[in-house]
Amino acid sequence: MTESSSLLQRGLWKDNPALVQLLGLCPLLAVTTTVVNATLLGIATMAVLLATNAVISLLRRALVPSVRIPLFVLIIASFVTAVDLLINALFHDLHLLIGLFIPLIITNCAILAQAETVASKAGLRTAVTSALGVGLGFLGALVALGAIREVLGQGTLFSGFEMLFGEAGAALEIAMPFSGALAVVLAPGAFFGLALLIAGRNFIAQRANRSASALEPNQQDT
């Protein structure tokens, strides 16, 4: 495996910010009532991750250890503010729905963790690749949870995409033959849905581990 594909894979699967590290759960739980909300917050988070990792990586030789954390936060906060403004300008209807949670991206520890452990130590390519992996991993978890909650809670899938893609997006909506259970839309649904996703991920990871160690019988299980 090449270095960059293993970096991508770490963020996407092995160290998935939402499902393994359990970071950024506040917006994750709050906005995953529909796929469209989850998609926009996931993309916004990824954009902030890419921008902050790139800038911090470029600045890394000039960084002063004693002030690095405040600087990281300042950089993250200004990109989040910019993204918030842009979303309000371009996707006004969606901003009315999830606008409250966009500033919370600043508090997503996955971004600060990337800044501290990767971007401030690595070159631009590594920093951006790593941000892409983590961003896609977070987006994937958001969309998966959004899909579960929208189908079971609201009885639709991909509803409201006209807010993202204009009129054509409305055609994406798929109606389920049932009307959905309220509990799934409310906070408990978010927690149960996330638990299901984490359990599912662990199950798959364990099976993969087991078959890998079956192939290499000499390797000690750790």
Partner: protein, 213 residues
């Protein structure tokens, strides 16, 4: 200062540079968004105002102007009032922006359109924090619950209340708090209209109008 170490100066320069960069990023985003956000806001307000008078004939040619509440003197219940006029400046309806403080999760902000004869032309929720799946059926996009108020007036029905309180209005399944708050707020808008609309309109005729754009 002569005693400051080189690293202090370096730190200062670094922090300043990052702060300037951050300010630049935000400035660019702000300049790009400012006009668009303002346009979006205006479009949303206009769509909402037109929405509550959609039951009137030719509602799309009506344009809103904001009326001055200060002529009432006493603290007014609505936050703002708009007059919907046609191209000849004739007023077809007044729209009251009112707040129901007693929603299940806090204030529910509503627009209530009232015709000159004192009947409701339409109601829309502008913002609320009611529970998704329970109280949020008051949103126009989620159910047609608000439509039952169209055509109603202060005297018709006599008793402004939901069925549970022996009134004529449907409530929502498993949610009575929200409908109660909305019914009371619409009733307050109608009462205000009955008491004050003439004064507001007279004031507007004498140039007290504030145009809304």
């Amino acid at each position: 200062m002569a005693t400051s170490s080189p690293s202090a100066i370096r730190t200062l320069l670094l922090v300043t540079a990052v702060a300037i960069g951050a300010a630049a990023v935000i400035t660019v985003a702000y300049e790009f968004s400012r006009e668009r956000i303002a346009t979006n806001e205006r479009a949303r307000v206009l769509a909402n105002l037109r929405g509550v008078t959609a039951t009137l004939t030719d509602s799309e040619r009506l344009t809103p102007t904001q009326l001055r509440l200060s002529v009432i003197g006493e603290p007014a219940d609505p936050n703002s009032v708009f007059a919907m006029r046609d191209e000849n400046d004739a007023v077809h309806a007044l729209i009251y922006s009112v707040s129901a403080p007693d929603g299940y999760n806090g204030a529910i902000n509503l627009l209530v359109g009232v015709s000159l004869s004192g009947t409701v032309t339409g109601v829309r929720v502008v913002s609320h924090r009611e529970t998704p799946g329970l109280g949020d059926a008051i949103e126009t996009g989620k159910s047609n619950w608000l439509e039952q108020f169209t055509g109603k007036g202060l005297k018709d029905p006599q008793h402004w209340a939901v069925e549970k309180d022996n009134g004529p209005f449907d409530s929502l399944t498993g949610a009575t708090v929200t409908p109660r708050a909305v019914v009371a707020a619409i009733n307050r808008a109608l009462t205000f209209h009955a008491q004050h609309s003439e004064k507001l309109l007279t004031d507007a005729e004498h140039g007290g109008d504030e145009t809304d754009d």
